[in-house]
Amino acid sequence: MAVFVDLNITNCKDVKKLQNMIEMAAHLGYSTVAINHVFEFESKKMEIGKPISTKELFSTLPTVQGKSIPIKILTRLTIIASDPSHCNVLRSTSPSTRLYDIVAVFPKTEKLFHAACTSIDVDLICINVTEKAPFFFRRPPINAAIQRGIFFELVYTPAIKDSTLRRYTISNALSLMQVCKGKNIIISSGAERALEMRGPYDIATLGLLFGLTEGVAKAAVSTNCRSAVLHGETRKTAFGVVYTVKKTCLEEEEAEPVCKKAKKS
């Protein structure tokens, strides 16, 4: 078993609030957290901003409860994709995505979900828990995602807030579990306030309600998160290789219009 990780702490302007949340995570026994920068396209040409500097947040990092080591803070980018063009940021050579440790995508349509599972280079795929699942989960894309080492993320904060959202969370989680059989699931908080966070053992128990077995539920807040972080690291380095070979990059860019033409015809 690995250390406990919460890969989704919502970024906010209020630094004090963010600090509070990270302190709470440390207090609850999480050894690693990721600050989540949600990015939603409003216009076509929007640049992805830089992640907040984790070094400037604390002068001394809070110590993890029951350990003598300080908490580790990562950055994460979540792109809310409602149109295929939104995912281009992840394909292109945009350097801003490389600044993040983890990249996640929140597909709004079945087509994008399929694309995220099979082709887009991400570490996490967010599962919608705040409304009735707009599409059924199908086996082929999910198997492909599992093959590629991509993880599905369930967020539990909405379930704390409201009874209706709680039903959606559990029901969507159960229908996902029916297909993926508990593989490649991570559970994270998505907290916006410190009081919305819960301890890792509590979440492992909550996982049972989502249809996971005891061991797998614990892995969903520890081992699987570790794998996701490692996946993020390899994606970074793999991207680096492509980046240095400039020629291939150019070819790709040139090749793109051809593809578009092919699609149109």
């Binding site: 009735k132 709680r166 559990i170 029901s171 159960l174 229908s175 309600l209 249809g211």
Partner: protein, 163 residues
């Protein structure tokens, strides 16, 4: 991919048969969902949210076939006894639901239902007072042969006539 389901064959018993016309599949689903949410809370409601459906409803005979995910049929089953009335647009229809059979396929439920109706008819026959009634029941009994297995509707409608 096939998801495993469970089918619950139930008997919907109304206190006053005149309410029959007012009951639709939607009413039943709504009330069953409410009952699950009451007895098993948000978790129960969520677990049965996706797959719960009424597969067949015959208001005249009161036969009701419910489908549910195999993993959670116990939640559904344990909630059914707590339904004491159906809520239909403000109307309260007193009733109860009696589970007759739980099966893995519609077919097993169908077989059971035929057998069950046969027995019911035999019971009726015992209580018959005149020859005409007896003859009618005998005829319907004959119609419940294996051949009619493929046509549950037919069997059921036969049953109706006898009521």
């Amino acid at each position: 991919m096939r998801f495993k389901s469970r089918y619950l064959l139930c008997e919907l018993v109304l206190e006053d048969p005149r309410w029959r016309q007012n009951i639709s599949q939607g009413t039943v689903v709504y009330n069953v969902r409410e009952a699950i949410a009451r007895t098993h809370g948000d978790f129960g409601a969520a677990a049965c949210a996706v797959s719960l459906s009424v597969k067949y409803l015959n208001v005249y005979t009161g036969v009701l076939l419910l489908r549910c995910r195999k993993d959670f049929y116990q939640l559904l089953w344990s909630s059914l006894p707590f339904i004491t009335s159906l809520d239909n647009r403000g109307q309260r229809i007193p009733c109860f639901i009696n589970t007759l059979h739980v099966g893995g396929t519609i077919r097993t439920c169908q077989k059971f239902l035929i057998q069950y109706n046969k027995n019911q008819l035999l019971q009726l026959m015992k209580n018959c007072t005149n020859a005409a009634e007896k003859e009618a029941i005998r005829q319907s009994l004959q119609s419940c042969s294996l051949k009619s297995l493929e046509e549950p509707e037919f069997v059921l409608s036969k049953n109706e006539e006898n009521e």
